[in-house]
């Protein structure tokens, strides 16, 4: 099998899996007062320090969560609530048109249920945000903005955003800036303090850790109203018994991913460039999506004119090649990507797109397998798509 969907989830690192299993064998609730509890607590706190050190944060800024979606919800809703509670006129949210649904839908929920007003920042044809547009959005109305949220790197087309510049603009207006860095950590350099962001989402399973554990890095001067109430864990911001084994494995994976980032990025980007080059040769009409230079090292995203992405996925899947069309609705129907639409693509181009993402286990053989299967798949998908025109 050629697994070319590492942006969906990537295999666990051996050291993370071993740490997980070893910790999961131990009993102990990190909130208990006895020796077993203290041992679990120690593992959690050591992990917090490792995550903080790897990502340029203070340990007290690390809030462990159940993963990326929870962290995004906590940041967007939690900061909105806290800032609005402090000053009632702060009801505006500024976000981007290319966010992951964990952010998009949180913002939409605030609009529908909390009377929030939203300003969506557009992107250019490569999917990139312009800090000047954020400046314009905040000018004159910054006092009413509760939170700005914009992703570090896009999960679909791989474009890396000018996060530090965006965060600096938000800081000019004293508005907290949250970034979803789920796709970025381990792929590009990420330093919480140096970036100037107030809140940052990271998750385990995109960087070699387990699914179901992640963190929100939250600056100490930024308040967030909790989503989950209960035992008061994690600075009272996120109640719930801590997943000691998951947190330990997550920390191991974060540390390894950050430590190996440069070498990883160089190797995987070279493999990705080879993939892109060979796809272009095999299917000359292909359209390459996203920023050609400032992008995630493992991401290659194409539109195949005259094809439907879901047909291509089926055909490649049958040849043992795993890739992605982007998001699907709850019934499983592939949806045209809101990211590509925001980049100015029409419906056909959005529906004709496929994402190939490489990761730490990828090899040249994966690319070979893709190139061997792709031309015939494109040919067939094109024939199938031609049927869409009413006869």
């Amino acid at each position: 099998m050629a697994y070319l969907d590492h942006a969906a989830t990537t295999p666990m690192l051996d050291e993370a899996l071993e740490a997980y299993v070893a910790t999961a064998r131990e009993v102990g609730n990190a909130s208990s007062l006895h020796a077993a509890g203290r041992r679990a607590r120690r593992r959690v706190e050591e992990s917090r320090e490792r995550v903080a050190a790897a990502l340029g944060a203070r340990p007290s800024e690390v809030i462990f969560t159940g993963g990326g979606t929870e962290s995004d919800n906590l940041a967007v809703k939690g900061i909105f609530w806290a800032r609005r509670d402090a000053r009632a006129e702060r009801v505006r949210v500024v976000s981007s048109a290319v966010e992951h649904h964990a952010v998009l839908d949180s913002v939409d929920w605030l609009v529908e249920h909390e009377g929030a007003q939203v300003g969506w920042l557009p992107v250019d044809e490569t999917g990139r945000l312009d800090p000047e547009l954020l400046r314009a959005e905040l000018a004159g109305d910054g006092d009413r903005v509760a939170v700005v949220t914009a992703m570090w790197a896009n999960n679909e087309v791989g474009t890396v955003q000018p996060v530090a510049e965006l965060a600096a603009v938000a800081a000019e207006h004293g508005v907290p800036f949250h970034t979803d860095a789920i796709q970025a950590v381990g792929q590009v350099p990420v330093d919480f303090a140096a970036s100037g962001v107030s809140a940052l989402t990271v998750t385990g399973h995109k960087l070699g850790g387990p699914t179901g554990v992640g963190a929100l890095l939250l600056a100490r001067d930024v308040a967030a109203t909790p989503l989950l109430h209960g035992g008061g864990q994690e600075r009272d911001v996120r109640s719930g018994t801590l997943d000691t084994a998951g947190i330990v494995a997550f920390a191991v994976a974060v540390e390894a991913a950050v430590k190996g980032q440069q070498e990883y990025a160089a190797r995987v980007a070279a493999l990705r460039d080879e993939l892109v080059e060979r796809v272009r040769r095999a299917v000359p009409e292909v359209v390459f999506n996203g920023d050609p230079a400032d992008r995630l090292p493992g991401n290659a995203h194409f539109s195949f004119p005259g094809c439907e992405g879901d047909a291509l996925l089926l055909l490649l899947d049958a040849q043992g090649i795993a890739c992605s069309t982007g998001s699907a609705c709850s019934a499983g129907v592939a949806q045209p990507s809101h990211v590509l639409m925001a980049m100015g693509a029409d419906d056909d181009r959005a529906r004709s797109s496929l994402r190939f993402t490489l990761g730490h286990t990828s090899t040249g053989a994966d690319v070979d397998a893709l190139i061997a299967a792709l031309p015939a798949a494109v040919e067939r998908a094109r024939r199938a798509a031609a049927l869409r025109t009413p006869r």
């Binding site: 879901d310 047909a311 996925l313 089926l314 055909l315 899947d317 049958a318 699907a328 609705c329 709850s330 019934a331 499983g332 129907v333 592939a334 067939r380 998908a381 024939r383 199938a384 031609a386 049927l387």
Partner: protein
């Protein structure tokens, strides 16, 4: 063969897919998303194409160990089945949406896409027999037989179709599903029209066609005996819900005899006036043998699960005429007439056409 199994999430299509796997085919499961908004369609127990059905289909595919995808056919379904359904009623006819879905969606849109993608055939859980002789026959289970809604398929469509369930009764299919560990074994049968969530066909049509008040006229006297708010709310043969202002002169119950869109009139009359001995139909599809030159003796069925009567049927290029040996009631334009040749190995579908008069 590489075959595509259309999986609705029900027990029939799950067992059909299982049998295709067992027959040695390379099977891929596909669930058709037909609703633009899945929440608005009937839930699993009553119809098809809901989130629950999609999940049930996926679970069945998991158990069979076959790849599974969801294909978005909502626009095609809406245009070719739902809009057609409304337009047919507006034109005073009584459509069969399941038949239309087979004709336009399952065995055209889906089949064509499957073939283009390299599949050799489509497998469905329809209860009908389609053997090596290429003839479409009734299921061994007369109560579940679906040959009527498949008779519209052309030779080319049948050549790329596999119906693995035709030799089994529904009870056998359920037992087999349970034996195979398919969770849908006890799922209730689907009924009615999947895209009318509450089962209220009149309300559905009224919403789309609006109020169009007109008169209800008695065929015997020519007198206006009532008013209606839309002729599309009536079907030939209907007795209930006529809301006549006064009883008929002869005191006997009245039935809908015909609908005339041009004058927006619903004509009612006594039961015997419903009897029809001659049926004309258009767009004949003749798959059960050579197209007959002159009239042939066969049996005909004029609605799903309706009575079967002997008839002499003549076919020409674009029309079919049937002289019924025994009159039938409730013959509605828009329904299909299906001609069968009685056969101990399962009555053979000779052909079908759409009733015009």
């Amino acid at each position: 063969m590489r075959v595509l199994a259309a999986m609705s999430g029900g027990v029939d299509s799950a067992v059909a897919a299982a049998r295709a796997v067992e027959a040695g085919h390379d099977v891929t499961g596909v669930h058709l998303a037909l609703a633009r908004n899945p929440q608005t369609y009937r839930t699993g127990a009553r119809g098809c194409c809901t989130l629950e059905d999609s999940r049930d289909a996926r679970r069945a595919a998991d158990v069979l160990g076959i790849p599974f995808y969801v294909w978005d056919m909502a626009d095609r379904f809406h245009d070719d089945v739902v809009d057609d359904f409304v337009a047919e009623y507006a034109a005073g006819r009584t459509p069969n949406p399941c038949l239309r879905c087979n004709e336009k969606i399952k065995f055209t849109a889906v089949l064509d896409r499957a073939v283009a993608l390299g599949f050799d055939a489509v497998v469905t859980g329809h209860h009908a027999r389609l053997g090596p002789d290429g003839l479409l026959r009734r299921s061994v289970d007369p109560a579940k037989d679906q040959s009527y809604v498949l008779a519209v398929l052309t030779r080319a469509q049948l050549d790329r179709s596999i119906f693995p369930l035709g030799d089994s009764t529904k009870a056998e299919v359920r037992a087999e599903a349970a034996r195979r560990g398919l969770a849908v074994a006890d799922k209730p049968d689907s009924h009615d029209i999947c895209f009318i969530a509450d089962g209220d066909t009149r309300g559905f049509l009224a919403e789309r066609l609006g109020e169009a008040p007109g008169e209800v006229v008695d065929a015997l006297t020519g007198a206006v005996v009532g008013n209606h708010s839309g002729a599309y709310q009536y079907t030939v043969g209907q007795r209930r819900g006529l809301h006549l202002d006064r009883p008929a002169a002869d005191g006997r119950p009245r039935y809908v005899l015909s609908i005339t869109p041009k004058t927006n009139t619903v004509t009612v009359g006594p039961a015997e006036a419903l009897e029809v001995s001659s049926v004309r139909a258009t767009r004949p599809v003749w798959t059960g043998g050579p197209r007959p030159d002159g009239p042939i003796e066969c049996e005909v069925q004029l609605r799903a699960h309706g009575d079967v009567v002997p008839a002499a049927v003549a076919v020409d290029a674009d029309a079919l005429h049937a002289a019924l040996r025994r009159p039938l009631r409730g013959v509605a334009a828009g329904q299909a007439i299906v001609a069968y040749r009685p056969d101990p190995a399962g009555d053979v579908v000779l052909g079908s056409a759409t009733i015009t008069a």
